[in-house]
């Protein structure tokens, strides 16, 4: 029989032994759990199906048509000039149009027109907010292809949020960075495909700096709060 108390060995480690022991006892008293594998499989299949559907319906893809350089976002903040949104009347839901309008307000004026688009790859620079509930564990799963998962030390010494990146390759004309905010609620992507104007593609650090800029975090925050499927 082993005893943990304030006067014993437990005192030496700040009480962790006592807490561990009580946790162990508490957990042991739980009733027997029925087999959850069947229910989990059924729920997992529903999630898979929703994710597949969400790949079309749950993603808000916004293309910025203007051509601006690597530093355009870095100090933009919310002081950018307000530019009317010119999205097509039937493009997206009302909430999506509102988000697009917010993006337009938040972006620097020279970022150009914000549009809801079905295929963001047709545009030089895109923001993509994934609105579904699909869980995504940036660094929790196995590596996929050439995609890397890293934290990057930014020029100001801060460490970036976990990001996924794929370095430029012969079949890719830019850097793809996945920026996460608030766990699994909102995904934010930047595709800085900067060869459109003859400039050099952004490197990974530059792209992450864009994703960490106050402008972008404002946008992510807004999208997270405003997303159409947000549960109240």
């Amino acid at each position: 029989m082993e005893r943990f108390d304030r006067d014993g060995a437990d005192a030496a480690d700040g009480g962790s032994a006592l807490v561990r022991a009580v946790m162990e006892r508490t957990a042991e008293e739980l009733p027997v759990l029925p087999d959850l594998s069947g229910a989990a499989r059924a729920e997992g299949r529903r999630r898979r199906n929703r994710a597949r559907a969400g790949a079309v319906a749950g993603v808000l893809a916004v293309a910025v048509t203007g051509l601006f350089g690597a530093n355009a976002l870095a100090g933009g903040g919310s002081s950018a000039a307000k530019v009317p949104v010119a999205s097509a009347p039937d493009a997206g839901s009302e909430a999506e149009r509102q988000i697009a309008a917010a993006l337009q307000r938040l972006l620097p004026a020279d970022a150009g027109e914000v549009r809801l688009v079905p295929n963001e790859k047709a545009y030089p620079l895109n923001f993509k907010a994934r609105l579904g509930e699909t869980p995504f564990e940036p660094c929790g799963g196995p590596a996929k292809g050439k995609i890397t998962c890293n934290e990057i030390t930014l020029p100001d010494g801060r460490t970036s949020a976990p990001i996924l990146g794929m370095p430029p390759g012969p079949k890719q004309d830019g850097v793809t960075v996945l920026h996460r905010f608030r766990g699994d609620e909102v995904e934010f992507r930047i595709y800085p495909r900067c060869r459109f104007d003859g400039s050099e593609p952004l490197n990974l650090t530059e792209a992450v700096c864009q994703g960490e800029s106050p402008t972008v975090t404002d946008i992510i925050e807004y999208v997270g709060e405003s997303r159409p499927d947000k549960k109240q």
Binding site: M1, E2, R3, F4, D5, R6, G14, G15, S16, L18, V19, R20, A21, V22, M23, E24, R25, T26, A27, E29, L30, P31, L33, D35, L36, S37, G38, A39, A40, R41, A42, E43, G44, R45, R46, R47, R48, A51, T134, P135, E137, C139, G140, G141, P142, K144, A161, P162, R182, G183, D184, E185, K231
Partner: protein
């Protein structure tokens, strides 16, 4: 047998092997058996959703634990339902042996969800400071300071309780 059946079978064996452990961790996080069961099932469902990738990973159980913890935190953020913390607010009498379980859950519920997760991962799952920091996406110093503060609060709430366990 189809590839999907094969996937399913592998998952069932995995789920049956890890669900008890996940459930216990979930219980310490949620403080409620029903909520813990729901959380465990949700975590397993998310694992199944990506099962082909997960089963190829080196540590599928660690992946499941990560999903469980992050799902717990996301739920707390999303729904702002930290009702247990309010339910247990207020000073508690020094517990006797029979009250220890309730006292621990009450003390855990008083911690912010993120601090609670740190304590459970550090002292129940016995993860290293480095691993907890990685899982919760924060610095190691944050984990150390939060765990130290939380541990002091838990120790205070547990008072002079003596716990007897079987051991070597």
């Amino acid at each position: 047998m189809t590839a999907e059946d094969d996937d399913d079978d592998g998952f069932a064996a995995f789920a049956q092997a890890v669900q008890r452990r996940l459930y216990r961790t979930a219980y310490l996080l949620c403080g409620d058996a029903d909520a813990a069961r729901d959380l465990t099932q949700t975590a397993l469902a998310k694992v199944f959703q990506h099962w082909r990738r997960v089963r190829a990973a080196d540590h599928p159980e660690a992946y499941a634990r990560t999903v469980l913890t992050r799902t717990f935190l996301a739920e707390r953020r999303r729904r702002l339902r930290d009702l247990l913390a309010h339910a247990y607010a207020g000073p508690e009498p020094v517990p006797d042996q029979a009250d220890l379980r309730v006292t621990l859950l009450a003390a855990l519920a008083e911690l912010p969800p993120r601090a609670r997760a740190m304590v459970v991962l550090r002292y129940w799952e016995d993860l290293s400071v480095e691993r907890v920091a990685e899982l919760l996406r924060c610095s190691e110093s944050t984990v150390k300071s939060q765990c130290s503060r939380s541990l002091a609060r838990l120790r205070e709430r547990l008072g002079d309780a003596h716990v007897y366990t079987t051991g070597a």
